[in-house]
């Protein structure tokens, strides 16, 4: 069985600063994909960033980057130059060997002006 753990229910950061959201996972698959999704208040969930497990290079998307530590089964999200629009729930997800992804419980991020 796959598991995804987000140990930080809530985080806060000042505008323009950097914040890191943690995610650990467990899977027996050799090939899998990891995702961070963002769910703004009262808005639709959207993909932030995706990492393929066989790629060693960490994925980046503008201000968003990941620290993928395969041996440690860790997949953290770093948000640089935080903006007010980054306030949202962030979900870490794992897909491996199955068509059903596993989601973590989410981290609520608040960006303060």
């Amino acid at each position: 069985a796959q598991t995804v753990t987000q140990s930080q229910p809530e985080m806060s950061v000042q505008e323009a600063e950097t914040v890191t959201l943690s995610c650990t996972y467990d899977t027996s698959e050799n090939n899998y994909y990891l995702f961070w999704y963002k769910q703004p208040p009262s808005r639709q969930m959207i993909l932030v960033i995706r990492q393929e497990a066989y790629k060693q290079q960490n994925a980046t998307e503008n201000r968003f980057s990941v620290n993928f530590q395969k041996a440690a089964k860790s997949f953290s999200l770093k948000i640089s130059d935080s903006q007010l629009g980054d306030t949202a729930m962030y979900f870490c997800a794992l897909s491996g060997g199955s068509y059903i992804p596993t989601f973590g419980r989410g981290t609520s991020l608040i960006v303060h002006p």
């Binding site: 993909l47 897909s95 199955s98 068509y99 059903i100 419980r105």
Partner: protein, 120 residues
């Protein structure tokens, strides 16, 4: 609009009533998922449709829950004899496998806005 749509956006019902929730996936997306999101919880998988294959119903919490997908497009999630514990946001997502060996879950899931169900 080419996104996933869901209706209604909010539904308030009385305990014991039946409800139907609708999802319109992105055109051409063969995979469709239903999830339930309760406060403080992650996304709980409910059911998965892929093309014309038999759906994976392994996540449905009880036989009061059922879903169908007509013509490989629109899907309806039905909850019979609703209970207060059914109150949650129900999310629909669609996806498409890319490449011969790819699973749809390896690719981005496109989510709808959800239906917030409140059972009084």
């Amino acid at each position: 609009g080419a996104g996933v749509s869901q209706s209604p956006s909010n539904k308030v019902t009385e305990k014991g009533k039946d409800v139907e929730l609708r999802c319109d996936p992105i055109s051409g997306h063969t995979a469709l998922y239903w999830y339930r999101q309760s406060l403080g919880q992650g996304l709980e998988f409910l059911i998965y449709f892929q093309g014309n294959s038999a759906p994976d119903k392994s996540g449905l919490p009880s036989d009061r829950f059922s879903a169908e997908r007509t013509g490989g497009s629109v899907s309806t999630l039905t909850i019979q004899r609703t209970q207060q514990e059914d109150s949650a946001v129900y999310l629909c997502a669609s996806s498409i496998p890319k490449g011969l060996a790819a699973l749809p879950s390896y690719n981005e899931q496109f989510f709808g806005p959800g239906t917030r169900l409140t059972v009084l």
